[in-house]
Subunit: 419 residues, 2 copies
């Protein structure tokens, strides 16, 4: 192909310029663009399916990426529905966050304004293309999309529909830029400090580490979830089993699924006996510390391994987890402090003061008492579609959705005040 760095920088400059126009655009034009996009997705369904087939057919039949990449008529319907849902969310930009008159007579306002240009680097899920474009447009931001090579045809047709929708609303098409997938251009994006305001990596740990190392642009890390559930001495065993099994098996490939069970010694025998049946029926591999291993061996648990050090702090993303028996809450908290990725952590307990202590002490984006970690999600938290789950502390933490696609601006009006 050959797509030069210079060409990309020109495009990024055009996107920056378009973003300043969008910040001044009417709410009506953004609404119109989103409605047009939803309609275009529906009317161009067969075209999208044909382009998507080109991508999917390139993958081997047993490649697990196929399903993540695959679009169906129903999934396209869902994309359109999601765009309409985003259009209905309140625009976070323009809100007056503070308004006061200072002693010297200056009128001071703090208002929410769009971030500007949002860069997202992701893998093969085509819904990310539509979700990110819709969320950015709704909040007045331009978007630079760097999707996976595998999804090139799909992303190209989706972005060309986004461009058509922008034209309908008389907005510049440069507002949404689909980058070519040449590897070396990622570096160009990560260092384009004049044109891009934030970089969001969505995907593998390797991608996140690369962005961390190489980006000169502030980033929001979304990703790795090493999630623990602690079954306390006072836990209701049935509830604990129900929560733990749900957290592990309903969708093991996502970041809020369970990775490690910590169980209080006094509960270990009863709990592990009770959890073995359902876990077995889901073929869940268990990496157990010696004490838990002994209990599970007694149950003839078929997918049992002795846990190595690396099996704690590991994100399984599969039908597998680790188990450790602990002496008390302090040991559980210590283990979580050491191995957690600060995403979602849970305690199952009937002791309210113990649970409150856990909720306060654990340093994570979301902490649960008597519920499954699987709830950590922008939609579940009533925030609408999300860009990802932030595991860092700056700007956004936990579900990173529309409300956080803004920054602040201080506006001061005077009558000649000097200092």
């Amino acid at each position: 192909m050959g797509f030069s760095e210079e060409k990309l920088l020109e495009q990024l400059a055009a996107t920056r310029k378009a973003s300043t126009r969008l910040a001044m655009a009417s709410a009506d034009s953004k609404w119109q663009a989103l409605q047009a996009l939803a309609a275009l997705l529906e009317t161009n369904s067969s075209l999208i399916l044909a382009e998507n087939k080109l991508d999917v057919d390139q993958l081997a039949l047993d490649n697990p990426m196929r399903d993540r990449l695959l679009l169906t008529s129903e999934r396209i319907q869902d994309l359109a529905k999601s765009v309409r849902a985003v259009a209905l969310l309140p625009d976070p930009s323009g809100q007056v966050l503070l308004h006061k008159t200072l002693a010297n007579g200056l009128d001071l306002q703090k208002i929410a304004v769009p971030l500007g240009v949002v860069g997202v680097i992701y893998e093969s899920r085509p819904n990310v293309t539509i979700d990110v474009a819709a969320l950015c447009l709704r909040s007045g931001n331009a978007a630079v999309l760097r999707g996976g090579t595998d999804a090139w045809h799909t992303n190209s047709i989706l972005v060309s529909l986004i461009h058509q929708a922008l034209l309908v609303a008389k907005l510049p098409i440069e507002l949404v830029l689909l980058m070519p997938t040449d590897r070396e251009l990622v570096q160009t994006l990560l260092t384009a400090v004049s044109f891009v305001d934030v970089i969001i990596p969505r995907g593998s740990n390797a991608l996140i580490q690369k962005v961390r190392r190489e980006s000169l642009i502030p980033t929001i890390e979304t990703g790795a979830g090493v999630c623990h559930t602690y079954v306390a001495e006072s836990a209701d065993v049935d509830m604990a089993v129900n929560i733990v099994v749900n957290a592990k098996v309903t969708r093991p490939s996502v970041c809020n699924s369970l990775d490690t069970i910590l169980v209080h010694r006094a509960q270990a025998s009863a709990f592990l006996k009770a959890v073995a049946g359902p876990m077995k029926s889901w073929n869940v591999a268990i990496f157990a510390d010696p004490e838990a291993f002994a209990y599970l061996e007694k149950e003839n648990y078929p997918f049992l391994h002795v846990a190595q050090v690396a099996d704690f702090g590991r994100e399984y993303l599969d039908y597998a987890c680790s188990v450790k028996v602990v002496a008390d809450l302090a040991e559980a908290l210590g283990h979580i402090q050491t191995y957690s990725s600060r995403h979602s952590e849970a305690i199952v307990s009937t002791d309210a003061s113990e649970a409150e202590f856990f909720l306060q002490a654990v340093d994570a984006a979301a902490v649960y008492w008597n519920a499954s970690t699987r709830f950590t999600d922008g939609g579940v938290f009533d925030l609408g579609a999300e860009i990802g789950i932030s595991t860092q502390k700056l700007h956004a933490r936990g579900p990173f959705a529309l409300e956080k696609l803004v920054t602040e601006k201080w506006i001061l009006k005077g009558q000649g005040q000097v200092r």
Copy 2:
């Protein structure tokens, strides 16, 4: 000296551990520590002055750093006063930002919690040591301080007083760590992702660039201010002169001082004639574009240079600025978009709709209409002492003060809910 990387990592681990204890500490103990610190600063004034003298005496008499490093009895009084002021500010942590019950019965709260461990890399101003420690303590954060080599004796005595204050309040002294100044240890700090939550570089552009390149920890950039004031066609000339001169000369070494004057062609003659006198009396060097140069030459302006390209977008930090004549608001906005560091920008105009357009269109932390950019400051904005002025968009923008030393945490309480 020889202070190993391992030793530092041990200390950072201890600071992380202490920070989790502080997050659970009572408001009373934090209050007690701050009051003790203020008192200790006052009672140990002569000891501090003696240690400070060791640092100051190492600098040549004509070194401009001397004044920034120098402490006097009065300045120590000010430090104590500032600590007491911070103690009176409301603690931003613990605030309930959102509380609702989800449809599935889960009780959802979003609360503000301390960031954890805040690392600050700064140069020779000893007040930063006290301000950062006080702000972090007030908001429940631990602080890692990496001050300048020049200020080692001063910082050491100040931090030992901070440690005494922590002991008085029965808080762990590891909460405030003064790092040795070995150059290679900065790299250790910037990559200690398990122990430090945010890095704030305060100082030269070279330092900020180094942190940008090398930090694996999220950073908040505070620093460079390339600030413009646009004198519009409708400007009141007297007001414009007053604002521009104030923005330039009251403290040229700080980031919110004026760097470039943009003046509408129709105002250029009258404005430049009027501003020449006061600027001359302050010995301000002016780097002028050809048109402005001609006007100022007519006034026999003594410190006049033809502006080179690099004189725009330059942060002068001295009695010097650049001037450019523009055709209209659009040209002024284009110039600002290209050269601004997005810190503070101003328009002087009697045309309200033009001014409103400017305030909306300019992408900067603080935008002013008919006032001096010198007001961009946490104290002036009623936020209390600040850690710096953030010129980035994530997390904090503009004055970065106590209110932003927190992140969020989602707390969910259930009765066994699963997804």
